[in-house]
Amino acid sequence: MRVWIFIPGDSGAVSVGADEVAAQVVELAKASDKKIELKRTGSRGLYWLEPLVEVETPEGRVAYGPVKPEDAGSVFSAMLAGDTGHPLCLGLVEDIDFLKKQNRVMFARVGTIDPLDLHDYQAHGGLEGLKKALATKPADIVEAVADSGLRGRGGAGFPAGIKWRTVAAQEATQKYICCNADEGDSGTFADRMLMEGDPFLLLEGMTIAGLAVGAVQGLIYVRSEYPAATKTLKMAIDIMRDAGWLGEKVGGSRHAFDITVRRGAGSYVCGEESAMLESLEGKRGEVRAKPPIPAISGLFGQPTLVHNVLTLASVPIIVAKGADAYQALGTGRSRGTQAFQLAGNIKQGGLVEVAFGLTIRNLIEDFGDGTASGKPFKCAQLGGPLGAYVNEDMLDTPMDYEALAEAGAMLGHGGVVVFDDGVDMAEMARFAFEFCAIESCGKCTPCRIGSVRGRELMEKVIAGEDRQASIALIKDLCEVMEEGSMCAMGGLTPLPVKSAMKLFPQDFGIAPDETKKGGKNVVAQGT
């Protein structure tokens, strides 16, 4: 009898010892009289349990975790003996509460299949969307995406259908599909998990997009911090091409489409779409003035559909299952499922894919089980380094685009970074300016100079020098940055700063009401 064992090859799992555990399992398997098959999968996204090892049983897959290399031997014996009394045994993986409460749509296969096995992919619903798209009129694919209510998952939440219609309507000899896999936001890793764990889904989504808007060339811009994802994507592209799903005749049709992977080089601002396009042209990642929008004049001046990894990964599902099925999930104008990422000081960090409708508290408390340190919760930053901080009083806000906007926060790419009461919010405000100064593309003054001034002013506040005056100046500076920056790098840096100041004035050495005093007559320096 064959025994199937599954160990993630995901780089997060590998960062805490999954390869060492796998190597031991290989050795133990050689010495065993049973026939053992080891499959390396993506991660289930239950990171606090990684390395999470699973074994196939007649009841389903049984999980053990977190398995340290030194536990590999005893876990291996327990798996073969069907011993669920082992201290690391978690029972059936599907019954783990964190996973059971989710609605895995984009991530349905991640962590279960061999990411580079196209048969495995197809056996679990893969390529159904593309096959259906090949039999559908391009305009109808565009309308299905519009009807689904899908919005961009990269940060801005712009309706995908509008972009698709715009690109489709352009007359051009060349159009491009550009996938933004720069995933620079602290607290986010869902794009990485998907590219490493189910790369064919992204490639399928891009190919469908190509058919729909009339593009024959796709590019994926992957940050250089993700070497494993880059390697997996390149292999997946070769496999798809060999199988005839990419190339001159996609799936034997008269449509051509091919995909190239390009690496970034350690710049956060290259996640901004026009900076990404500059980088894809081999240039410095400087933000372009808008208009024109990329849908009209993008890569090499041609109409370009730019989307985040998860936006494109939703497309095969929308096409295969129908716009109505997708649209039926979610709430208000936030449709479908969202991949939330729980990170930072949280006991159960990982990926939570659910239909929109949960509150921040549901995520942090019900899924995350509170802080990792066990100390009281102080705040969370939502939506990456340019996102707002929220405190205890705001936890019942629903995590959807509109509700968060109303609360002065944003969803961004779905990252939730939790802090315990040890954090000093004045330091986090200083860091927000510092990060902007480091990553600014330098194109406009409010961001390039303003961020440096902001950092200096925050240093003064922290040192207790001219506190009142410095805070008044910071507020003016924030206004200048919000109004005068060309992109959201400079334009949104004030969001974490102002929210920290408003929610935690004591950390800034000021009384709550003083944060409300303006300083409008003081001109910010250097702008």
Binding site: G12, S186, R262, A265, G266, G344
Partner: protein
């Protein structure tokens, strides 16, 4: 214009750089890929190398230089033997990354051939604090784990 003195080793290097450029059909748009490959092969991108790349891709040296200086990944000088890159993103900060960075920097300050750098998010935010050691990603680096990993690779 003065021609660079060519020795046989610089000839081989030149040939290899041209091969790397050809890998990308000498496309100027592939400059960043070329720079990554060259740096992987030689550890850094010298002045002479920049000139070769500019020639092969038919762009100016100023353009090559401008791109190298914009992106944090590229070096124009040799890197020390061991490179530790500690994440300073917010998620890692919430788990003590600033302290880890300060302690590690301090611990290796008298050791040659080790450099400690700050980076901003490695996509391992649920296993914070995170760092890479000679390119290999590590997570859950609270406490003394990072320093024992450094000792392991430098011993």
């Amino acid at each position: 214009m003065k021609k660079p003195v060519s020795t046989s080793s610089s000839q081989t290097k030149r040939a290899q750089i041209l091969r790397i450029c050809q890998r990308y059909d000498n496309l100027a748009s592939a400059l960043i890929e070329v720079l990554h490959d060259v740096q992987e092969a030689y550890g850094f991108i010298s002045e002479a190398t920049q000139r070769e790349i500019a020639g092969a891709l038919n762009i100016t040296r100023a353009e090559v230089h401008g791109v190298i200086s914009f992106y944090d990944d590229f070096r124009t000088e040799g890197a020390p033997g061991t490179v530790v890159r500690i994440c300073r993103g917010e998620a890692c900060q919430s788990m003590g990354a600033q302290g880890l960075l300060a302690a590690t920097t301090n611990a290796v300050k008298d050791r040659a051939r080790i450099s400690v750098e700050a980076v901003y998010c490695l996509g391992n935010c649920a296993l914070a604090p995170a760092a890479t050691l000679n390119g290999k990603l590590h997570g859950r680096l609270k406490g003394p784990r990072l320093s024992s990993l450094i000792d392991e690779v430098t011993k």
